[in-house]
Symmetry: C2
Subunit: 230 residues, 2 copies
Amino acid sequence: MNAPTPDAVETDPAYRAAVVDLLGVLAYGELMAFERTAVDATLAPTIDDKAALAEMATAEFGHFIALRDRLESIGVVPEEAMEPFRRPLEEFHEHTAPSDWLEGLVKAYVGDGIAMDFYREISAYVDDETRTLVEGVCDDLGHSEFIVDRVRAAIADDPRIAGRLALWGRRLVGEALSQAQRVAAERDALSTLLVGGVDRPGADLAEMGRMLARLTENHTRRMGALGLAA
Amino acid sequence: MNAPTPDAVETDPAYRAAVVDLLGVLAYGELMAFERTAVDATLAPTIDDKAALAEMATAEFGHFIALRDRLESIGVVPEEAMEPFRRPLEEFHEHTAPSDWLEGLVKAYVGDGIAMDFYREISAYVDDETRTLVEGVCDDLGHSEFIVDRVRAAIADDPRIAGRLALWGRRLVGEALSQAQRVAAERDALSTLLVGGVDRPGADLAEMGRMLARLTENHTRRMGALGLAA
């Protein structure tokens, strides 16, 4: 499979639309991640925990800025690129509002984890320049260790919460899939990145199956790291 | 009046306690400002407004980090320095939770404005190194123009809201004063920064009066900039 060259963003309208969608959904996703992480910080039990969440939130805002700058540099109004993803992302967050500090941590780790894995998979099909940006945004910011530590300590303290948090993890994935399906159905350009377009190769059915297997495996590994059954 | 020298933080225990209190209250104040601004971002009517608030919040977190680093560098555990101010600051924010986007903007402009003016006044009585840090934290981050613009536009659109927002501004100042009095009563070290200690000059009654006049004047000016009666 040959990935598009960076100038395809200028010369191939269908590819351009796909990249604009990808950057738009990622940008609004990071802005929402900033908000949700910052709101979760208000639930933090200690000042240190509060500061750790605030630091995660500012890193997410940094990603938003990088994506917004990139949209501007290719001549797109960032708000217009983000607008189509506003409702699905807001609905995802409305349907998965954490009821406490631990649910917030699990959501940040498991929910963001699967989303970032998915965007990394998609980035295999874009030009080098876009891929470098997407991979940077999807990089683990080193906060995972903090979350794993806090969740495991809470479960050690009261093993009964593991069941509730495991259910919560499943609900997060279910909601994420249902919003992702909605986006895929509505945004043809974005879907063709993955499945290919007229002149552009994409993933065949076998590769799609392998991708889903990788996403599921990583999700199970993350749940396990938290001490939860997937 | 001679300001203390930077080494007084090491050599004068009473002065050290005062500076630790000042940095502690400022640090927790900035962490709360981060949280509140980020929560207000969830109320923003447009993506641009959301991003502008998120940017303000990350700047506030940057201030928090600078203050926390300074506390660490003088050998203080930051959480311990912040702890005494946790309740008063949280109560202030609980009592002044904005009910909408505009109240949030007025609070950020008028509430932070008077707090920053106050800390700047106090910084006249500290050593150069501490003063530089405090002044940097109190610097207007250039977001005021954004807030003034949004609030004036909203009032132009519906002049009736000016009365409600003016009342809101008065309530903010009232709450801030009542929490400040509580802090002053409980934290002797911090109070002596302003009024002076055994070996340290402070403000006399006349200077205190002038300070209050300056704070009131600036507050009235800010309310006026928003198009509100103080």
